[in-house]
């Protein structure tokens, strides 16, 4: 699983930090490093840019995986510099922001990234959305191609009339999910699955707020 992120425009970061003059920066060594949005290089660049705007950067760190419990150890290790700042700027996906937030209750936590989607890398630097976390996986009947994420409209019962030469009406560079599903099901001798009626989707498999207790 990779959380695909994009840096917020610097002007937005500056606006979010408007009321803070001392900032501690936290990056992530996993997804955000791979997406080149919150690794060491990006954290250092952010540090320089914030200093140019007159902010005091009290310190920085890149947590190996910002979404897991290592964040707590990193927070303890860097306690002094974090305490010295009046906010933390987190260059990780929203999971990292949540994790940091849970350890720094009395300090503001500001995201520097927008979390775009849960994606896979199919060629270096090229990520595609793999899962919409709908709670009702259909991949078993769609040849492993998810229409919820690969079709702009998230259709279940086949292509819309906007598909053209195997491409999507929204973007001629993007494949039509149902052309791909059709081709692969045909190859696999399972084209009958495309004829199956899918009833309206259950959007309340786990109603929001989504919480599951395994205990």
């Amino acid at each position: 699983m990779k959380s695909i992120t994009r840096q917020k425009p610097f002007s937005e970061v500056v606006q979010l930090l408007d009321r803070f003059d001392r900032v501690y920066i936290i990056g992530c060594g996993t997804c955000a490093t791979m997406a080149r949005t919150g690794g060491r290089d990006e954290v250092l660049e952010m540090k320089n840019r914030l200093q140019e705007t007159g902010k005091l950067v009290t310190g920085w760190t890149v947590i190996p995986t910002a979404c897991d419990e290592m964040t707590e150890a990193a927070a303890r290790e860097n306690e002094g510099a974090i305490k010295n700042a009046n906010c933390s700027l987190v260059m990780a996906c929203a999971l990292g922001v949540h994790r940091v937030n849970s350890y720094l209750n009395n300090k503001a936590v500001i995201p520097a990234l927008d979390t775009l989607f849960i994606g896979m890398e199919d060629s270096p630097g090229n990520f595609y959305e793999a899962c919409a976390q709908c709670g009702q996986c259909v991949l078993g009947e769609t040849a492993g191609i998810c229409p919820l994420t690969a079709c702009n409209k998230g259709l279940l019962n086949g292509p819309c009339g906007g598909t053209n030469n195997g491409k999507c009406e929204v973007d001629k560079e993007k494949d039509c999910a149902f052309t791909l599903i059709y081709q692969r099901l045909k190859e696999q001798g399972r084209l009958d699955l495309m004829r199956k009626y899918h009833p309206p989707k259950n959007y309340q498999v786990v109603p929001r707020p989504r919480i599951i207790n395994l205990g």
Binding site: N152, L155, N157, P159, T163, E169, V170, P199
Partner: protein
């Protein structure tokens, strides 16, 4: 109560429908003018539903205007802007106001329209919407709850006979038939031989097919549609014919071509009727029909 349009479909006559595009704004004069012009010349008039994902006066509003003027409306319903509650509510309203024909569409994608940041809903798709209508006719809503008063509709859908690849489209066409579609209006067709082959296939299903006729206004427009509109292929000889028209006469040629096509489809009983889309030139539809001998 069987709708007038359904009666026309069942009568065996060559059925003609056309289309009204509601305005963007409260000035509905032109729409009312188009309704006056066409209501007695066709068997039913579709009213588009935020066509091309551009926010407009609603389809149901146009349908009510047609009813007020004594015409027969077909309510176009897309799944783009409303969830299953809102879709069903609109069907309840339509039924009570005697708007009894519905065309079920997925709807264009949000990013192609003029509110690109809006949320695309697509809670249902066109197949699910058709089934929802059939369920509501049994007195239950899509959640299985009792309705105090059921609906009754002549429900249809669309098909693209020249889609590429065609098989996924045909599979969906068959799903729409199974879901209870009674009639189909097709994407614009221009190659009558190809369309006749599609009809050979479609004839095995108990549905009525109305061929889509989109007025060609110039060679440039014909070429643009071929290059950019999914499932539309204007053959080169028609493009040449338009290009060869005298200066300013391309539109006359387009009307002539449309009239000729309608006449040919009717003469050879290739399909059950036509759906004429004049796209902002509604005033020429009577001419097309006259040329076709209708």
């Amino acid at each position: 109560m069987i709708s007038n349009f359904k009666q026309a479909l069942n009568s065996g006559k060559f059925v003609v429908t056309s289309e009204i595009g509601p305005p963007k704004g409260t000035n509905i004069e032109q729409m009312l003018h188009h309704i006056d012009l066409l209501k007695n010349r066709v068997d039913a008039l579709n009213v588009t539903d935020h066509q091309s994902s551009v926010m407009r006066f609603p389809s149901i509003g146009g349908c009510l205007a047609i009813k007020e003027k004594g015409g027969e409306p077909i309510l176009q319903v897309t799944c783009r802007d409303r969830n299953r509650l809102a879709l069903q509510a609109e069907l309840l309203l339509a039924h009570t106001r005697n708007v009894r024909n519905v065309l079920c569409l997925t709807g264009d994608a949000v990013p192609v329209g003029d509110h690109k940041e809006a949320k695309g809903i697509f809670d249902l798709d066109s197949v699910q919407l058709l089934r929802t209508i059939r369920q509501m006719e049994t007195g239950k809503d899509s959640g299985g709850n009792d309705l105090n008063g059921a609906v009754e509709f002549c429900a249809g859908a669309i098909v693209t006979p020249e889609a590429n690849p065609i098989e996924p489209q045909l599979i969906k066409f068959e799903k729409k038939v199974e879901a209870g579609a009674e009639f189909f209006q097709t994407q614009a067709i221009y190659d009558l031989d190809k369309f006749a082959k599609f009809m050979q296939y479609a004839r095995q299903f108990p549905v009525k097919i109305l061929a889509g006729i989109v007025l060609l206004s110039s060679a440039r427009m014909a070429k643009y549609m071929t290059d950019n509109v999914p499932g539309i292929n204007v053959p080169q000889d028609l493009i040449d014919e338009l290009a060869g028209a005298p200066k300013g006469g391309a539109i006359r040629k387009g009307i002539e071509i449309a009239g000729r096509m309608v006449a040919a489809l009717k003469k050879d009983s290739i399909c059950d009727g036509v759906h004429i889309m004049a796209i902002n030139r509604e005033e020429v539809v009577p001419e097309i029909l006259a040329l076709a001998g209708l």
